[in-house]
Structures are given as structure tokens and as C-alpha cells.
């Protein structure tokens, strides 16, 4: 029997019309509840739930540990999924730049500092949430508007060619797996 960590449960907006809830434990042992419709937005989580055979009856007794995502990112992800769980399928964009508009609610949610945003993208990639990935990348892309290469380096933390070379050299110098 699994022992549930003694940490506060972060309660998200309950879903009245859908009683099936799942529990997720972040890498820093925060517990989140998420509805079935919302969790389906994450291909990774939904595959896991399906493979584990979790059902409405046993879902809450079997929290899903997600070791690659911390509580802060998980909270944002759960909020996002709950918000968008009933969204209709996105239209096929032929031109992202022209057609794709980031909703204000999501812009607010993603108004976090760059480092957090980059971490959130890594978490989103791991959990395979297509829509959140699109939205995060939109925010990242918007930062580049009317910026010079030097400004982009600062915003995105990009090294110069010389620094890039030095990093590559140091990476190749460092001992790697043998054999």
C-alpha cells in the first residue's frame, strides 16, 4: 500500500459535472487533484492512467508520481488543463504569426519570469500537452518582437559565438561515459 506524503493538498477548481478525479504528486511532494477531462490534455498522463488501469473507483487511492515536474509548474499545468478541458479542437493554422492569438487568461497565467517559463516548457514537453506548449512558445516568440540580436541574447540567455564555442569545448572535455 502506498503511503501518501504529508503535504498540503493543492485543491483546484472542482468539476461538478465530472466526478472522476485523479491525484498527481509532483517531484517536491505536492499533491494535486485533476479532473478526467483536464488530465486528457496531457498525453503522457493519460497514457499512464490508461496503462495503470485507474478507474473512477480507485483513482484517488492511487496518486500518480511525476518526478520530473515540481509543484510550481504542476500547479500552472493543472490550472491550464482545467481551464481548457472543454475547448473545441484548435483550427489548423496555416500561419501561426497571423492567425494564432493567445487568450488573455492564458497570457496572465504565463506572465512568469523567463527561467520559470523555460522550466514550464520542459515540464509541458515531458507531459506532452500540445496546447500549453503552443501557448508557452507564443509567449517566448512574442518576446522577440523588434529586438536586436544583442537584446535577444539577454532575453533568451543565448551565448555569443565565442561563448558557445567555449561551452562546447568544455562539454567535450568533461569526462563522459566510458566504453
Amino acid at each position: 500500500m502506498s503511503v501518501e506524503p504529508e503535504v498540503p493538498i493543492v485543491q483546484v477548481e472542482e468539476v461538478r459535472e465530472n466526478p472522476v478525479l485523479y491525484k498527481i504528486i509532483s517531484s517536491d511532494n505536492h499533491v494535486f487533484t485533476i479532473s478526467e477531462h483536464a488530465v486528457k490534455l496531457s498525453k503522457t498522463l493519460w497514457d499512464l492512467i490508461t496503462n495503470l488501469g485507474l478507474t473512477a473507483e480507485n483513482a484517488l487511492d492511487n496518486p500518480i508520481p511525476v518526478e520530473n515536474v515540481n509543484g510550481k509548474n504542476m500547479e500552472t499545468i493543472v490550472q491550464f488543463c482545467e481551464r481548457h478541458k472543454y475547448d473545441e479542437e484548435e483550427p489548423e493554422y496555416t500561419n501561426y504569426i497571423r492567425e494564432f492569438v493567445l487568450p488573455e487568461w492564458d497570457r496572465q497565467l504565463l506572465s512568469i519570469d523567463n527561467e520559470e517559463l523555460f522550466q514550464l516548457i520542459l515540464a509541458t514537453n515531458y507531459l506532452d500537452i500540445q496546447k500549453l506548449m503552443d501557448y508557452c512558445c507564443r509567449v517566448i516568440g512574442d518576446m522577440a518582437k523588434d529586438k536586436t540580436p544583442e537584446e535577444l541574447r539577454i532575453i533568451y540567455g543565448i551565448p555569443t559565438d565565442a561563448e558557445d564555442d567555449a561551452l562546447e569545448r568544455s562539454a567535450s572535455d568533461s569526462p563522459g561515459p566510458s566504453g
Binding site: I97, I121, L122, N125, M133, G141, P159, D161, A162
Partner: protein, 553 residues
């Protein structure tokens, strides 16, 4: 010079005393029968049933007592090889000795190295502040330690009265005012913030200039206009130097290669961008790159980000570093160009790129030294030395067309702005440019798709540089309008005489126009070719618009 040096590891303690140029060293080791004491290569003794730590501490106590009246130069404690438990045990014993003393230890310099710099707090209060001039605290690891509880240390009289502070591998972010009483200081700072610079300016002309206290005396000289300046040079990754140069009212931040040779043409306003011979190179502790680096994103995210950037942003991003440049070149993000107009003149080529919400116009001018590139609406222009303007323009245009994915709404190539004939300079230039463009169009895996193609050429041979390499006209659903301006009146002779027609009509200016109709792959549409005095227009029309009685070829 007199010095006490104590080095402690988990089962070994060395104490050294120096005075009058002589040094005495005693080693204390943990031994199975007690404590092994060794004071020379050959002289050693096992003290049975004795703990090596107790023996060592007792001896250190004696040494300190013997030096109670004199002022020592150095007390050096090196504890970094101890595990936490042994270090704590040693420090407790040492502290007990210090507490039992009737006077504080008199030393001019105190140096402590340990895995937990906070342990300094346990010993430093026992140094006599009236004598202590220099404090050195060292963290043995190369990654600067940031969680040192300096706030507590700053309350000590020893801190307030000392003149020199060295913090090695300890990175701090505390206001400069807490340092400026020191005459000399060496500390890692994780960020050289604007506040730091402002602080510096506030303390300029002050003996306690924080930049001086933090980074030592500046490099001082004059520029070629005899304006005095002072600066500091920091090494950054990639054999680069970051310089901060202060003039009376100006601060210049510069970054250049460490080995950059001085150039003759550097003028007085080109600030120091070579390393002066006698400059001291300092080290910045800021780690690079930070976690927020775009390079750390997975490819899937990078691809999406690129897809959301407009053409100009992609080009700027491409300039940042070669990893990103390689990535962009491999992905070939869509240029998303809607219209392209190229005008060729004898001495320059103008390219106008239109996007959904923006336009870019670039002019490539022929110069004796090379090619002068000028972007419309921006003051900057750049001289590319020893290159041909035709080659530069062709390369840029081709690189943009290469990444063009959707159908281009309009392609306009103007090679004959005022009418030219074979043999004139413009003819040569336009021929060369069209050949470059043709080579590219031929090499494309898929023909370029355009809705409207307009060209203005000197003769039909020039049309053939481009037209055959656009998607085939009669089967193409993309090309909708094609117009050729020409200076020759017999171009209609190119039409195959076996075609039926033409339909004769008049344009709004009263000129006679001849029109042929051709069937195309879309059943309800026809291709319409109209020849007037100065132009040929090819466009599509609906079959129902073909006048009655006219044959569709």
C-alpha cells in the same frame, strides 16, 4: 614574520609555527594505540591511549599562550579536508581553548578555509580587533558559495575594523555600503548590477570607491583625445574580455577577444577594445549560460518558437550564436513572404520584401571597395569589403526564397527600368543577376510557386531565365497573373501561328489589343493571353466570360 598554521583533516592534524625565519611542524595522527606524534622526518612517538585531537589541541593551546604578548602575522586554519563531524569536534575544542584565555588572540591576519564558511563565525570573535587587519575566508570548491551568513559576520568588531577582506569562492549579493570601509577587498559577485555602477558613480573621486575596493585599482590611461579614463577588465568564457571603462561622464561596457590586435584606424571614440599590456584581468563569477537559455529547450519547442517569429526576428535570432544559426538553417523556417520586388540598376539592386504586417527594403550598391548595403528606414549602412554587389544581392534574395513555403503572391523582376539594349552596362548586370536567379530556380527541388509574376525585361531571352522555372503555367493553379513589359513590337510573333484567334479589341486608351484563350486543367477556367503595344498579360478568366464565337485553344 610569525605564523601559526593549523591544518586538520579527519584523522590528522598538522600545526606549524614560524618565527624568526624558522618553522616547526608537528603532525598528530590517529593511531590504533593512541596518537602518533611526528615532529621531523625521523622523530615520532606514539602516545598510548591518547586521542590525537586532544593532544593536538593541548599543544596548540600552549603555542597560543606562548604568543600571548607578541602580535603574530598570520593565523591560518585549514579545515576543508575534515568531514563535518570532525570539523565541528575540532572547532568545539579549539573554541574552548580560546574561551578560557584571558586575552584575545593578537594576529594581523586571519585566514580560514573550510567546507562550511559559517564556521568562521565560531573563531573570528576571538581575534583581537585592535590588531586584526586582514580577514580571509575561503571556500575550497570552485563553484562560488552563495549562502554564507555574512550578515552576522558584519556585526563583528573584527569585520568593522579590518582593512582588507578576501572572500575566495564565496559569492555575495549585499549592498556595497557594507564593504566600503575596507581598504581592499576581493569578492566574487554574481551580477554586476546597475546599482553597483550607480554606487560606483556616487563614490567617484572618493577614496572608498566601491569598484576599487571590489576589483582593486583600475587601469588608468588617456584616450587619443587626452581624456583620462579608468577601467577594469574581466575575463569571460571563450577567451573574451569584458571591459568597463569610466570617463568623467561616460561609462562604456565593451566586449572583445582577449587576443584582439590593436588596429591602426581605432579612433579616440572607439574605446579600449584591445587588452592593454599591463592590464590586470579579473574574473567574474557569474555563471553562464543561465538556466533560462533558449538552447536548453527541446527541439519541438524550438521549432514552435521559430514558427511564431516573423522573418525579421528569425534573422536577428540567427545572428546570436552558431548553435542557433545551425538549428535555423536546418529547420528552414518559412520566410512567409507575400511579395517580392527586385529592381536591377547598373550600380545597384533594390529588393523589396513584403510580409503580412511588415516590409523590408534593402539596397545593394556597387562601390569600389565592395558592396554597400543599406536598409530603407534605418540609418545604418554596412560596407562589405571586396565583394560584388550582384553576388551579395543574389545570395540574400536566394536565401529568402529558399525558405519560402507558401505560394508567393507576387514576384516582380524589373531589369529594364528605362529600356535597355544589349551591350549596355545594365544589360550585363541584369543578365548576370538573372543567371544567378536562374541557377537557383533550376536547383530547387520543387518549382517556385507564384500567383502573379511581373517582369520588365529588355528582350524575350531574359524572360526565359525565370519563366520556365516557375510552376508550369497551364497546369498551375497558383500562377494567376503574368505580365511582361517589352520594348519590342514583334513579340506577338512568338505566338504559334497554329493557334486560333486572336480576338481583336481596344483597351481603355484606344490601343488595339489582341487576345488568345487557352483551356487549362481547371475545366471552368481559361488562360487569357493579351498582347498590346508594350506588354503581354497572361491571366486566368472564367470560361463563361469568353466572348461568343471565340475559339478556346
Amino acid at each position: 614574520m610569525s605564523k601559526i598554521y593549523v591544518r586538520a583533516s579527519t584523522d590528522f592534524i598538522r600545526s606549524s609555527v614560524s618565527f624568526d625565519g624558522r618553522e616547526f611542524t608537528i603532525d598528530y595522527r590517529n593511531h590504533e594505540d593512541g596518537c602518533l606524534v611526528q615532529w621531523s622526518q625521523t622523530k615520532k612517538k606514539v602516545l598510548e591511549n591518547s586521542d590525537f585531537l586532544d593532544v593536538a589541541l593541548r599543544d596548540i593551546e600552549c603555542i597560543l599562550d606562548s604568543k600571548s604578548i607578541t602580535v603574530m602575522d598570520y593565523i591560518i586554519m585549514n579545515l576543508w579536508q575534515q568531514d563535518d563531524q570532525s570539523a565541528q569536534k575540532f572547532l568545539e575544542g579549539f573554541r574552548k581553548i580560546l574561551e578560557q584565555r584571558t586575552s584575545l588572540v593578537r594576529a594581523r591576519a586571519f585566514h580560514m578555509t573550510s567546507n562550511t564558511p559559517d564556521q568562521t563565525l565560531q573563531i573570528l570573535p576571538f581575534m583581537d580587533p585592535d590588531y586584526l587587519k586582514q580577514i580571509t575566508i575561503e571556500y575550497p570548491n570552485n563553484d562560488p558559495k552563495t549562502d554564507f551568513k555574512l550578515a552576522e559576520l558584519m556585526e563583528f568588531k573584527q569585520w568593522k575594523q579590518a582593512e582588507t577582506l578576501y572572500l575566495f569562492n564565496i559569492s555575495l549579493n549585499i549592498p556595497l555600503k557594507n564593504y566600503i570601509h575596507f581598504k581592499k577587498i576581493s569578492v566574487d559577485v554574481s551580477v554586476v548590477s546597475i546599482d553597483l555602477v550607480i554606487d560606483h558613480l556616487q563614490h567617484r573621486c572618493d577614496a572608498q570607491n566601491p569598484f576599487v575596493t571590489m576589483f582593486g585599482p583600475p587601469y588608468q590611461d588617456e584616450n587619443s583625445a587626452k581624456e583620462p579614463r579608468e577601467g577594469w577588465f574581466f575575463s569571460i568564457p571563450g577567451d573574451m574580455i569584458h571591459s568597463i571603462i569610466f570617463y568623467e561622464k561616460v561609462i562604456i561596457f565593451n566586449r572583445f577577444e582577449k587576443n584582439r590586435a590593436k588596429e591602426e584606424e581605432d579612433d579616440e571614440y572607439n574605446d579600449i577594445d584591445t587588452l592593454p599590456n599591463n592590464a590586470v584581468i579579473l574574473k567574474m563569477s557569474a555563471e553562464y549560460p543561465s538556466e533560462k537559455c533558449l538552447l536548453k529547450l527541446p527541439d519541438v519547442a524550438m521549432n514552435k518558437v521559430l514558427g511564431m517569429l516573423d522573418f525579421e526576428a528569425v534573422q536577428c535570432l540567427r545572428k546570436t550564436c552558431h548553435t542557433i544559426r545551425n538549428f535555423i538553417d536546418a529547420v528552414e523556417p518559412d520566410s512567409a513572404l507575400t511579395k517580392l520586388k527586385i529592381s536591377v540598376y547598373p550600380n545597384y539592386i533594390n529588393s523589396l520584401y513584403l510580409f503580412d504586417e511588415a516590409s523590408i527594403e534593402v539596397k545593394y550598391c556597387k562601390r569600389q571597395e565592395g558592396c554597400l548595403v543599406n536598409r530603407f528606414g534605418q540609418d545604418q549602412e554596412k560596407l562589405l569589403e571586396s565583394v560584388d554587389f550582384l553576388d551579395v544581392a543574389s545570395r540574400d534574395i536566394i536565401s529568402i526564397l529558399t525558405n519560402q513555403k507558401p505560394v508567393l503572391k507576387s514576384l516582380e523582376v524589373e531589369c529594364c527600368p528605362h529600356g535597355i539594349l544589349e551591350g549596355q552596362p545594365l544589360y550585363q548586370v541584369s543578365e548576370q543577376f538573372l543567371s544567378n536567379l536562374e541557377s537557383y530556380l533550376v536547383s530547387r527541388p520543387k518549382k517556385l510557386q507564384v500567383n502573379t509574376f511581373t517582369t520588365h525585361v529588355s528582350d524575350e531571352t531574359q524572360i526565359l531565365h525565370i519563366l520556365p522555372h516557375l510552376e508550369a503555367f497551364r497546369t498551375c493553379s497558383h500562377l494567376e497573373f503574368f505580365r511582361i513589359e517589352h520594348g519590342l513590337t514583334d513579340i506577338q510573333d512568338l505566338m504559334d501561328p497554329s493557334y486560333a484567334g486572336p480576338l481583336l479589341a481596344h483597351n481603355p486608351f484606344g490601343d488595339v489589343i489582341k487576345r488568345w484563350f487557352f483551356s487549362v486543367c481547371t475545366p471552368d477556367r481559361v488562360l487569357k493571353i493579351t498582347i498590346s503595344l508594350y506588354q503581354i498579360v497572361l491571366d486566368f478568366d472564367l470560361l463563361e466570360n469568353v466572348p461568343e464565337g471565340v475559339t478556346v485553344n
